[in-house]
Amino acid sequence: MLETTSRIRPLAARPRGSGAPGRRWSARIRPAIGYMILCLIALLFLSPLIYMFATSFKPPAEIFSVPPKLFGSEFRWQNYQEALNYMPFLRFMGNGLLVSAAGTALTLVVSAFSGYAFSRQRWRGRNLVFMVFLATLMIPQEVLIVPMFVMMQKVGWVNTFQALIVPWAFTAFGAFLLRQFFLGVPQELDDAARVDGAGTLRTFLLVMLPLARPTMAVLAVFSFISYWNSFLWPLVVINDVNNLGTIPLGLQMFFGQQGNQWHLVMAASVISMAPTLLLLILLQKHLVKGIVTSGFGGR
């Protein structure tokens, strides 16, 4: 049953020339060619990143050689040293880490509570409020940027970390994702906890939350990545890039000033990609599952 997909092709091909050696050969060679084309497409797809990686080790004079070469005459590790010295990239990393971690923590806390309230608590107006939550997903961030900036001005948050962290932690996506998860948990678990004498808060914290760990992890990774990569809002609300900049902001500024020092820009780009790339490789199974079950990622 499980291998039916692989059975389809021989079934369809058989009546035309069953047993002829040429046919059988082509049935074997065709998937191989297809596979090779797929590999070529993947390689072509990766080529910008490979090129970036290779360029980040090239001596500056050899970057725009004709014909382009993948590797320079030497492997220049100093590019990274110089890129790190030229701009406070480690600080950008630290800032990004702080902002992303705090934002993710806030997202997880509020989403877990609301996801639970929308799935396993009965209260008047629940569905209406949930509809309003979902409707906010339709509002593009760009429409909020100007009024949000004015609000930040009024409360004196321009040029602060909290301006980067707080406004975007309340996306309805988290409530949606966790509600989906909690809806699938059997009611008996609540009842059992109640029989054992646990109140609502205890049931939620000690029984339900530990169960939701995988979903929380998916939400955490999405949230972290979207904070880490966020660009337009930091560009608007942070002026003091040297001290408060995150990675994309720092990279952008670095690029503006160093437009012709491509070897440094590429080294900086490689550094900026490393954390999310690492997350993807480590957690690809969960991430893919999260995208697939929820239908959309943290864009």
């Binding site: 079934l11 369809a12 797929l38 608590q121 609000m151």
Partner: protein, 323 residues
């Protein structure tokens, strides 16, 4: 015995129905009792999130509408304009071109994204060895910082850059100046954006295709349908809800394109690649006209709402939910 059976059976059934009904009523009654006792927990749990959304999404949307009715400098006092900002936008040929550019981007980008993501999702069937690795590879640019992605592409597109250099050494002809030529710049941005963005849709479509029941495709194959027909006639129909969803999300996000033109072309040459969000950013935070920027943002919002509504109305024609 034989006589008793028929009478006993309905009786048992009646009993069962009654007790089932009782159980149902009980199950219904219990949450109601809960509702009486614990009604404060639900709203209390949802409150922090709801408050956050109210302050940081619902309030700004209203504030945005208010700001758009003012001449609102970055620093200094705002003055009321009424619909002046909107009038200015509608009569400004630059804004007209910005909207046209954005629509052009959407019209080029969305179909390309869908074709590429659907094509690759269909190709990466469970038969393909290492399909998970391929999926991860195609997804990489979706999660790496868009600024870094764009910076690399700038290097590929640049005269003397990778594409130009390769072409020159292979054929002796130099490539067009992709980013400096009005006819090429938007295409260059579209290609880069497809490269960066189709991974999400590919994953969603791929999962939907995996969920197509095998007995359906198998039956069709036995009836003599080839792989091509099976894909077009059966699989595509069955995954149409995913395609609908993917199309809608892609449409919405593609109207918001910003980082690509911002770093690749700065909207140029001329204003041939300036998009609505780039315009919002420039007006608001370069020229300090927050009112005008807000009005432009609201026009963007209305466009997105309109396109989404049209999508929803059109879905009945091609989306099949009865799987």
């Amino acid at each position: 015995m034989t006589l008793l059976k028929p009478t006993k059976a309905p009786l048992a059934e009646v009993e069962a129905t009654i007790s089932r009904g009782r159980a149902k009523r009980k199950a219904k009654a219990e949450p109601d009792a809960q509702l009486g006792r614990r009604t404060m927990w639900g709203p209390a749990f949802a409150l922090p999130h709801g408050l956050g959304l109210a302050i940081f999404t619902l309030l700004p949307i209203v504030v945005s509408l208010v700001i758009s009715l003012f001449r609102w400098p970055l620093l200094g006092t705002p003055s009321f304009l009424g619909l002046g900002n909107y009038e200015r936008l509608f009569s400004d040929p630059i804004f007209g071109q910005v909207v046209a550019n954005t629509v052009l981007f959407v019209v080029l980008y969305v179909p390309l994204n869908l074709v590429v993501s659907l094509g690759l999702a269909a190709w990466l069937t469970p038969r393909i060895k290492g399909r998970h690795i391929f999926r991860v590879i195609f997804f990489i640019p979706s999660i790496t910082p868009v600024v870094a992605n764009v910076v690399v592409w700038r290097m590929l597109y640049q005269p003397g850059g990778f594409i130009d250099g390769t072409l020159q050494s292979a054929t002796g002809i130099s490539a067009p100046n992709f980013l400096g030529d009005e006819h090429w710049a938007m295409m260059a941005i579209v290609v880069m954006s497809v490269w960066q963005g189709f991974g999400y849709n590919m994953l969603v479509f791929s999962a939907a295709l995996d969920a197509v029941p095998e007995n359906l495709t198998e039956a069709a194959a036995i009836d003599g349908a080839n792989a091509w027909t099976i894909f077009w006639r059966i699989k595509l129909k069955l995954i149409s809800p995913s395609i609908f969803f993917g199309t809608m999300m892609t449409l919405i996000t593609s109207f918001q394109v910003f980082a690509q033109p911002f770093i690749l072309t700065k909207g140029g040459p001329g204003s041939s690649t300036s998009t609505i969000v780039l315009y919002i950013y420039n007006q608001g935070f370069q020229f300090h006209q927050l009112g005008l920027a807000s009005a432009a943002a609201w026009i963007l919002f209305v466009i997105i709402l309109g396109v989404t509504a049209v999508q929803f109305l059109g879905q009945k024609k091609w989306v099949h939910y009865d799987a």
